[in-house]
Amino acid sequence: MTVETLSLGAAVGRALADALEGDPDVVLMGEDIGRLGGVFRVTDGLQARFGAERVIDAPLAESAIVGTAVGMAYRGARPVVEIQFDGFVFPALDQIVTQLSRLHYRTHGRLRMPVTIRVPFGGGIGSVEHHAESPEAYFAHTPGLRVVTAWSPQEAYSTLRAAIASDDPVVFLEPKARYWSKGEVDTALVRDLDTAEVLVRGRDVTLAAYGAVVQTALDAALAARDEGIEIEVIDLRSISPLDVDTVVASVERTGRLVVAHEAPAEVSVSSELIASVVERAFGALEATPERVTGYDTPYPPSALESHYLPSLDRILDAVDRSLGRRSSRTGLVLEGSAR
């Protein structure tokens, strides 16, 4: 067992290094991941250590990055590819949706596609267009893909190791706003790819989030505690499949649900989670479930991102609404359920 303090970015790098070390079939590929070490320096030093045959600087073509990874998997490789930023994943969507995600199904189980696609995602870093998006809904709607996230260095390390070890294709979304935040990492800690985790227990409201928003959710729980409100914080971790059981169990205790993420709300992970919880625990809900998400607009210029992103205040406001307390959005004091 090794426990170390690492930034989230370094934890990702460490997971990649350990995977390369542990399995000769693991191959990394992406734009600028070699000498530069990636634009976030996550792969720093890996090409020097493992060679240019295993840490491959790819030409600038995302469809080819995923498509050739599929071909490598046909020959037994376990490729881990990097898409430089969330907004650049769309040229690869065809290979992800029509090939990678369904070759196992298409071949009736004869082929496996142990390909991991790493995508730094999310906003809040003051960047320009296409550098702050949250494309997870596109992947979560796609059968055959697993979609996972991490919010802490520990989760980043353990979940990425699980993703690389998985025989299914996995989209691993890295919350870039948290690349520089540090935490302890126990490299022996093993994660699976389909369970959510209750990070904070609380009896009043269930607050489910993932990625960078988990930290905001934890902050919200802390802030609410001062007002005597107990928020139960769930890190969803796996976006697809969603661990509805864990959320339902929580809602059965709290009767209230708030879901937060950065992506737009329309046809999103929060739509699905609310629909799923309603289907499974309609009777347990005592108030209207609430969403705190990016708005249904393109990601705005960075000067406005604090308005766009689910902030601490917006989350607390939703918690208040859910509890029938004063809502700054409606200006009303609501009694009981927010019907």
């Binding site: 990874a69 046909y74 490789a77 189980g109």
Partner: protein, 372 residues
């Protein structure tokens, strides 16, 4: 006043003006410096094999066509006219090489030992793919145009990493050359000097669109812009295709990187059994290509070199009849999949969500069954 920006020159690609070939439509053999050295070992037996194989795959195609008309298959993309291109390619490969085809590569599948029932399962609507791609070292049909060229390239990149001398072959059509994926495949193949052969069967049409919609320049020229050598051959001349594919495979095995082979041929039939080519091409054009039939010309050549052509024809006929019978039997035997299989293999370990949907659906289906 203008500068003379030079137009592409024909010296760039062998066969750019006239595709290279060694067998004329009348079966006469002509010399070709480039191709001949790859054909030196071909004796009468080898020629006979090529003839029989082409006859066989034509019969497979005819029979599948008929089975579609009889409602046994939901769809069939016929290969008629392209037998030389595919049989020539198949004969140039080792069993350990990996073929990534489109949906029309039936001949390659048959010659790589795919069971006929497995071949037809997809076109019966019973399965999304019929055979084990790893066992036959051939990917199952690819419907997304051009997507497989990246898989072939990635496979070849992995071969290089292994240090093996296997190669990958990407088969695609003239229409496919327009898709971004095919260009990206050439970028990666060239950049990593991957042992992949790009076999473009230019059958003159992408459904209704003649090849000039995709390109004014010869398709083989496309590759050279990516730094990939290209060769353009008469795709109805099985020996020319065999030689070009051998040459390209040799280059790849020697670590010299990718090669692009354009086989100039013609799709004699409709795009698929639901197509109506009468809407977009003339009978004259089809007739002109019929005169260049790949099987007839090898038959004439065999006769001209004194091979026992009657005997060979008879042998082919017997095997063709047998394979046709086998196909009909396979189709009759082919069973629709069980409903529960709908939920299999979405992921390697089923998720709770899929397990729940499966259980609910089966309960529902059983109750419906009961009611009836």
């Amino acid at each position: 006043m203008s500068i003379a920006i030079p137009a592409p020159r024909s010296e760039l690609v062998e066969g750019l003006d006239t595709p290279l070939g060694v067998l004329a439509p009348d079966g006469s053999r002509r010399a070709c410096r480039t191709l001949d050295e790859h054909l030196a070992d071909l004796d009468e037996t080898a020629l006979t094999d090529l003839f029989v194989d082409m006859s066989l795959v034509r019969r497979v195609d005819e029979e599948a066509f008929a089975l579609t008309r009889q409602g046994e298959l939901v769809l069939w993309p016929p290969l008629r006219g392209q037998e030389a291109a595919q049989v020539g390619a198949a004969h140039a490969l080792r069993e350990t090489d990996f073929v990534f085809g489109s949906y029309r590569e039936h001949a390659l599948a048959v010659l790589r030992g795919v069971d006929l029932g497995d071949l037809l399962r997809v076109w019966q609507g019973h399965a999304l793919s019929g055979w084990d791609p790893l066992a036959h070292r051939m990917a199952t049909p690819q419907i997304i145009i051009g997507a497989q060229t990246l898989h072939a390239t990635g496979y070849a990149m992995a071969v290089r990493r292994d240090g093996g001398d296997d190669i990958a072959v990407a088969c695609f059509g003239d229409g496919a050359t327009s898709e971004g994926d095919v260009s990206e495949a050439m970028v990666f193949a060239s950049s990593f000097q991957a042992p992949v052969v790009f076999l473009c069967q230019n059958n003159q049409y992408a459904i209704s669109e003649p090849v000039r919609v995709q390109s004014h320049a010869a398709l083989a020229l496309r590759a050279t812009g990516f730094g990939i050598p290209a060769i353009r051959v008469d795709g109805n001349d099985v020996l020319a295709v065999l030689a070009a594919m051998r040459a390209a495979a040799d280059r790849a095995r020697r670590g010299e990187g990718p090669t692009f082979v354009e086989a100039v041929t013609y799709r004699m039939g409709p795009h698929t059994t639901t197509d109506d080519p009468g809407r977009y091409r003339d009978a004259d054009e089809v007739d002109a290509w019929r005169a260049k039939d790949p099987i007839d010309r090898l038959e004439r050549h065999l006769a001209s070199v004194g091979a026992p052509i009657e005997h060979i024809r008879e042998e082919a006929r017997i095997r063709c009849d047998a394979i046709a019978k086998e196909m009909r039997a396979a189709v009759v035997k082919g069973e629709a999949p069980a409903p529960e299989s709908l939920f299999d293999h979405v992921t390697v370990t089923p998720t709770r969500r899929i397990r729940r949907q499966r259980a609910e659906h089966l309960a529902f289906a059983a109750s419906i069954q009961e009611e009836r």
